[in-house]
Amino acid sequence: MEAEVKDKIVSIEKPELVAPPDWKPVIMGILCNWCSYAGSDLTGTSRMQYPPNIRIIRVPCSSRVDPWFIIKALQTTADGVLISGCHPGDCHYISGNYYARRRFLVTKELLKMVGFHEHRVQYSWVSAAEGAKFAQVVKKVTEDVVKLGPLHLYKKENFSK
């Protein structure tokens, strides 16, 4: 994210819009308490470094994530959303992530259809032991979103850029 690169960043969905020079992407991370949040804590305790653009919200289970949160985040603060839960079969609540997985796929495809780049909303399974994976995931999502440029679509009043 060096300055000279940033000057050229345009919004992928609206190529006519160029990112302001001080633009920093905001990534909303919604993590399940038992696997991914614990995994992200492990990333911290292991002092693994990742880009500082992610803002993490803790929920009990990935099945608590209403697609509505994704829409809301994209409409307000976020340029990208990362949702992470337990690996299939590892759900603390037996089956939560299976229900979540269905919703995520449909939400992702629907957003893609209405004009959001597919990298705007990404999902991962990160277990409590995968601190390194979490760092990698955040790095990848941040890089992807930087490439996509700022998100301008359907921003709520106070966030229209």
Binding site: V26, M28, N33, Y37, A38, S40, D41, T43, G44, T45, R47, M48, Q49, Y50, P52, R55, I56, I57, R58, V59, P60, C61, S63, R64, V65, D66, F69, K72, A73, T76, T77, A78, H92, Y93, I94, S95, G96, Y99, A100, R103, A135
Partner: protein, 657 residues
């Protein structure tokens, strides 16, 4: 209006080195609701907590944000600090600026500080929507239900009952005792199974805190931890247990002969029978499938010979209900049917038996009086081949897992064979010898040295008949050559599989099971006796193959768990659970479908204020709900809220940056 206090921790140098803490405090002060913000070196220390307590009183704070380490670390600590200051502990939010900022952005202090500020803003925004929550106390019915009367069930029942907690023990067959009652002598000490088990069985029958319900099954379980209601079907025994003295006149005179399950079908029993002489309770039952009186209405001999008049052919199944607080499941195991091993000729050759059949034969109270014989001609075998891992550790034909106990009991069988038939020789084909356990390795060595058993490392490729002998062709892996043993008898150590009705039982209890049918524990390492459903525990081979010491240990662990659960009159439960707003609920019941704990039921409420017409809405059982939020996300009318993670809280967080 909300008055939020923000407390930012240095965590020594952990945070302060990479995040500019005073800037974070200044940022926090800019937020409208923040009335007090301060930093301190160690917030979790006593003086740090004292700062929080003082500020709560001094600044009349309505919620608290602590920016420090992960909430998974110190949330409880700070909640207690709030509690001590007279504030509801759930008005706390923790902003994780250590694991999520200072430790992971060590190269960019500016960005880390900025992020820490955002995390504090998010936590403040969330805390504004926090509500006062109170720990839920659920009343407890102090009675345990133990399903299965094998050694696991017996041990669990006795341990619980010894703590003066009433236990209902349900056993499917006419007598408790289970698989252990079928064993002769047990490894590694070769003490007689009956001798150590029977006293425990008698204890069960005579224990004032144990209600033994034999010949019955659990058919329904409703409710939640501490408050289950079980329905138990008592199968008709056609014998009045109250008057029966167990004299045995009836089964001696009964003309109908039926293969004896206790002896693996090697001999026969009668249609009215007790499974074995030491049965507890020692009362006969009539096998309705074979009794001619019940089938055709002819016979009635047993009724004639019974002096007490205890026989009642008109008896019917009876369903009884028990209110219980916890369940111990100890349904035990079955043996895998080795028919897929066609190359061994299983089913074709009579002289191939499984190890339980062998166990019965060498048992002193067995069908052959303790001497092994060939089923084909009744001769005593001189050369016996034992084949281990039949079905176990065989992904292609059998089951992937190791049955754990076969190595040990096969060594035992070799020894027992030697004891019973002195001039015999045992050949044992094995893959590995897994003798991890106290005295186990010594026991295997003893079998090899004392009895001269020949251990052949290799798989058997074929068994075929030659005259009246069975030719066992296999590989001796150590010599690297093919061997052929001329055997009189072949004993297969077939795999241990879960009790066949485990999946049905699991569905009935609302717990999960794995692909083999073993019931699933809540955590493979740290919660091996609990299930995912609170108040249901697992003991013995219902969870995984185990030997007797492990089974007994797990059963006692279950008992400890049950006693812990029943230690108070009520149970405390985390209040972060879902609740339904009746006004918005449209009664579609999709939440009922997705709840992994069956915590959601329906109730009827009036359509409007004072209306006679009723409508259906969902109702969450607070004792069962674990707070996953699955129902909240799928509720289209947003009628369900999850305390601690409500929609306003999460949306506040999202828009706070």
């Amino acid at each position: 209006m909300a008055r939020v206090g923000v407390f930012v921790c240095f965590c020594g140098a952990n945070i302060a080195d990479f995040v500019d803490v005073p800037t974070v405090v200044e940022e926090a002060k800019k937020i409208r609701e923040v009335k007090f913000a301060i930093d301190y070196k160690y917030m979790c220390s006593d003086p740090g907590q004292q700062m929080i307590r003082d500020a709560i009183v001094q600044h009349r704070l309505t919620s608290i944000v602590v920016a420090a380490c992960s909430p998974r670390m110190h949330e409880k600590t700070f909640r207690k600090a709030l509690s001590d200051a007279g504030m509801n502990p759930y008005l706390l939010e923790v902003a994780n600026i250590r694991e999520h900022s200072s430790w992971v952005h060590q190269k960019d202090k500016k960005a880390a500080t900025e992020k820490a500020g955002d995390l504090v803003r998010m936590a403040v925004a969330k805390s504004i929507a926090n509500e006062q929550l109170h720990e839920i106390s659920v009343p407890v019915t102090k009675r345990a239900l133990v399903i299965g009367g094998g050694i696991a069930g017996i041990q669990a029942a006795l341990d619980i009952a010894d703590a003066r907690i009433p236990v209902t023990l349900v056993e499917r067959s006419p007598s408790i005792g289970g698989r252990m009652a079928q064993l002769d002598e047990t490894f590694p000490t070769l003490d007689c199974s009956q001798c150590i088990l029977t006293p425990k069985m008698v204890d069960v029958a005579s224990h004032p805190y144990i209600e033994l319900i034999p010949y019955s099954e659990v058919i329904e379980l409703n409710g939640y931890v501490g408050n289950y209601k079980a329905k138990i079907r008592k199968k008709a025994s056609y014998v009045n247990f109250k008057t029966c003295t167990g004299c045995g006149a009836c089964w001696q005179k009964c003309p109908v002969k039926v293969p004896n399950e206790y002896n693996c079908g090697i001999d026969t029993r009668k249609a009215i029978y007790t499974p074995f002489p030491q049965a507890v309770p020692n009362k006969p039952v009539i096998d309705a499938e074979h009794c001619t009186m019940l089938l055709k209405g002819k016979c009635g001999i047993c009724a004639k010979v019974c002096e007490k008049g205890s026989i009642d052919y008109k008896m019917v199944d009876e369903v009884i209900e028990r209110e219980i607080g916890a369940v111990v499941v100890a349904t035990g195991y079955d043996l895998w049917d080795a028919t897929p091993y066609e190359e061994y000729g299983v089913g074709r050759y009579k002289d191939i038996i499984n190890s339980l059949e062998f166990e019965r034969m060498v048992s002193a109270n067995g069908p052959t009086g303790g001497v092994p014989v060939r089923p084909s001609d009744g001769k005593v075998p001189k050369t016996v081949v034992f084949i281990k891992c039949v079905g176990s550790r065989d992904k292609a034909k059998g089951i992937e897992f190791c049955s754990k106990i076969c190595c040990m009991y096969t060594a035992k069988h070799a020894i027992l064979l030697h004891h019973k038939v002195h001039d015999s020789r045992a050949y044992i084909f094995y893959m590995d010898i897994r003798a991890a356990g106290k005295g186990y390795e010594e026991f295997v060595n003893r079998a090899q040295v004392e009895t001269g058993a020949v251990y052949l490392r290799g798989r058997v490729s074929k068994i075929y008949q030659k005259g009246d002998k069975l030719m066992v062709r296999g590989e001796d892996g150590q010599l690297g050559q093919e061997v052929e043993v001329e055997a009189d008898l072949v004993v297969l150590a077939t795999a241990v599989i879960p009790y066949k009705e485990n999946p049905a039982l699991a569905r009935l209890l609302g717990i999960s099971y794995d692909k083999y049918g073993y019931l699933s524990e809540a955590h493979p390492k740290l919660r091996p006796v609990e299930t995912a459903k609170a108040g249901i525990f697992l003991a013995g081979c219902t969870q995984a193959p185990k030997d007797i010491p492990d089974t007994v240990a797990q059963a006692s662990a279950c008992a400890a768990k049950v006693c812990g659960l029943f230690a108070g009159d009520t149970m405390k439960k985390d209040p972060m659970i879902s609740t339904v707003n009746n006004e918005f609920c449209s009664g579609c019941q999709n939440c009922v479908q997705v709840c992994p704990y069956q915590a959601i039921v329906t109730e009827e409420i009036p359509l409007g204020h004072g209306a006679k017409e009723m409508r259906t809405v969902a109702k969450i059982n607070e004792g069962v709900c674990q707070g996953c939020g699955s129902c909240v996300a799928i509720c289209r009318s947003m009628a369900i809220t999850l305390a601690g993670f409500t929609d306003p809280q999460i949306i506040n967080e999202i828009v706070a940056i």
